[in-house]
């Protein structure tokens, strides 16, 4: 998607003059490679509003939505630990994002070898960012305030590590987990976000680099399509969760004692708030309040509905009854799958995607998990990683204009225009992006779990686990009555 910042010095005065001249000309010509001062005049109040509203919606996806969705699924004795883990991951993650995360993900790296893989530290502590600097969108000569971009992307960076805790639920120590999150964001999330989403923006993509090579992340330059985070968020977190649950081992009593969800009411509330918040996640990722945002919005709505229906049907056919947990799981699987596709598909294609993703995730959480006997406690792998992979691949298919998608936008031209669509080539690129994410996130996560476990210990004692993490880790209970 994203970014190139402009230095804001003196932009204010110059922008007022430019705005005046723009009024004189009813249809100003597009400016190739606008200066910082010119770009500062290309900010729209509607877009800015939409980005700030979307940011709040995505924050709501973490707290309370994800916390309640996960919390309802654990046993009463661990409810509070899940709430606290999610709450603190977003708090600590916010600081990490401001200190070095934004710069690592969305700045240009002065080292040309590293530049495609990770940003530099030139914007650490938001150096050089102020209320006059801007960030690019997907349209030529349209910008949003850089602060709006910083906070919007921040909500993605903080929800992603929070997703991982679902795999580790019931059996992980609090502070070592927080350390894992800081390191994982730094070594995994920010580089992956940089590879997939960083670019100089449509006005600069091919014009700023002296080599005439496009200025963007490794996977972005390859043409990987990930509208709102199928690879960056869901596959990334899903595989990290999977590695974590294998590393920690099964919960005490897994497979012998019943571990039913303690409150599916909470889970339903959480899933519903996720659905609502996801409009900010997906339609907000369009970065402008226009038809593209509306497309992502409707796709998000209908794919989710379709996936909830198809999971309920799976439950009916396989277990004889439609379950609430199944419907909620299906809705989340649909949201995950449509995330990378939301701006690159049509509504009917999105419905097909939603109908298809639930049976696949249903198979993974119900059959594959027990067959291979791993304890992915809340099915982060089965829903987020698998759903993300389905979505990332489907994006390559559904973007095809022949299937109702918007097609390939060629940013090497000015202004950018729709180019020829090659579905097979796109699918190969999508596979590359999926593989890079799986390998990097999975591999680095394994090293991090191992190192933190050796130094601090990752898993609580068996007695502590039996007693429940609420009391042993936090000294409180979720419920006192």
């Amino acid at each position: 998607m994203i970014r190139k910042m402009m230095c804001g010095l003196g932009a204010l005065g110059a922008s007022m003059m430019a705005a005046t001249s723009a009024f004189a000309d009813a249809t100003p010509a597009l400016i190739k490679s606008p200066t910082a001062a010119q770009a500062a005049t290309m900010v729209n109040k509607g877009d800015t509003t939409w980005m700030l509203v979307s940011t709040v919606l995505v924050l709501m996806m973490s707290i309370p939505a994800l916390a309640l969705f996960y919390g309802g699924l654990v046993r009463t004795k661990n409810m509070l630990s899940v709430l606290m883990q999610v709450f603190m991951i977003i708090s600590i993650g916010t600081l990490v994002w401001i200190f070095w995360g934004y710069s690592e993900a969305f700045s240009t790296n002065s080292n040309a070898t590293l530049a495609p893989f990770v940003g530099g530290l030139s914007k650490a502590f938001l150096h050089g960012v102020d209320s006059t600097t801007v960030a690019a969108t997907f349209s030529n000569n349209v910008y949003i305030p850089e602060y709006a971009y910083v906070v919007f992307q921040m909500t993605f960076a903080i929800i992603t590590p929070a997703l991982i805790v679902g795999s580790l639920a019931d059996r992980v120590k609090f502070w070592p987990l927080m350390l894992f999150v800081v390191l994982w964001m730094t070594i995994v999330y920010f580089p992956i976000a940089h590879m997939v989403w960083y670019w100089a923006g449509p006005d600069y993509y091919f014009t700023t680099a002296s080599t005439n090579a496009p200025d963007g992340g490794y996977l972005f330059n390859k043409g990987a399509l990930d509208f709102a985070g199928g690879t960056v968020v869901h596959i990334n977190a899903g595989i990290a969760g999977m590695v974590g649950c294998l590393f920690l081992g099964k919960r005490v009593g897994y497979g012998k004692e019943p571990m039913p969800p303690h409150s599916l009411t909470m889970t339903m509330i959480g899933a519903s708030l996720l659905w609502v918040g996801w409009f900010g996640f997906n339609a907000g990722s369009n970065l402008e309040a226009n038809g593209g945002a509306a497309l992502a919005f409707i796709n998000t709505f209908v794919a989710t509905a379709a996936a909830a229906v198809s999971w309920a049907l799976c439950d009916q056919f396989v277990h004889g009854k439609p379950s609430m947990l199944g419907a909620a799981s299906g809705a989340v699987a649909g949201l995950v799958a449509v995330t990378p596709a939301s701006g690159y598909a049509g509504p009917i294609g999105s419905i097909v995607l939603g109908l298809a993703v639930s049976p696949i995730c249903f198979f993974f959480v119900g059959v594959v998990k027990s067959k291979f006997n791993y304890d992915d406690a809340l099915d982060v792998f089965g829903v987020h990683c698998i759903g993300g992979i389905v979505g990332a691949l489907a994006t390559g298919i559904l973007d095809n204009p022949a299937l109702g998608g918007p097609g390939f936008v060629d940013y090497s031209k000015f202004p950018a225009g729709v180019g020829a669509y090659d579905m097979v080539a796109q699918l190969k690129v999508q596979l590359t992006a999926i593989s890079v994410t799986l390998v990097w996130s999975g591999g680095v996560s394994a090293v991090l779990y191992f190192a933190i476990d050796k130094i601090f210990g990752l898993r609580p004692s068996e007695e502590a686990e039996r007693e429940g993490l609420d009391i042993t880790e936090h000294g409180e209970r979720a419920y006192n009555y």
Binding site: S323, G326, D379
Partner: protein, 126 residues
């Protein structure tokens, strides 16, 4: 007062303590019927347990759990010897669905009862 001695006028015996375990949805019916009989009070607790009734199977994302402990309601009533037989009979008749899992009624001799507010004891405290 020496250890082991009751206060003057303390009355005991002549009462039964009735514990009934019933299906939760029958509680209102039982309470109404007992009220009509003149039972002045009862204590109700939500409990879990098992008897001859089989458990239920629950499935969460494909993981099947058989729950042996089923939710029931426990009613505790203290009644005078005069009233006790009719209390037991009434509970038995109102709580019955003629299916397994309807529950049980236990009757034990009650040594005494005291009304905390006034200090009255024996069946006048009921």
């Amino acid at each position: 007062m020496a250890a082991g001695e009751w206060p003057a006028g303390f009355k005991g015996a002549g009462m039964k303590f009735i514990i009934a375990i019933i299906k939760p949805f029958k509680l209102d019916e039982v309470r109404e019927a007992l009220g009509a009989l003149g039972v002045a009070g009862m204590t109700v607790t939500e409990v879990k347990g098992f008897g001859r009734q089989k458990g239920q199977t629950e499935i969460y994302r494909g993981a099947e759990y058989t729950t042996n402990m089923l939710p029931k309601v426990k009613i505790e009533i203290a009644a005078s010897d005069d009233l006790a037989p009719r209390v037991v009979e009434t509970i038995q008749q109102t709580a019955s669905t003629e299916a397994i899992g309807d529950g049980k009624i236990f009757v034990i001799d009650l040594a005494s009862a005291v009304r905390i507010r006034t200090g009255e004891s024996g069946d006048t405290a009921l």
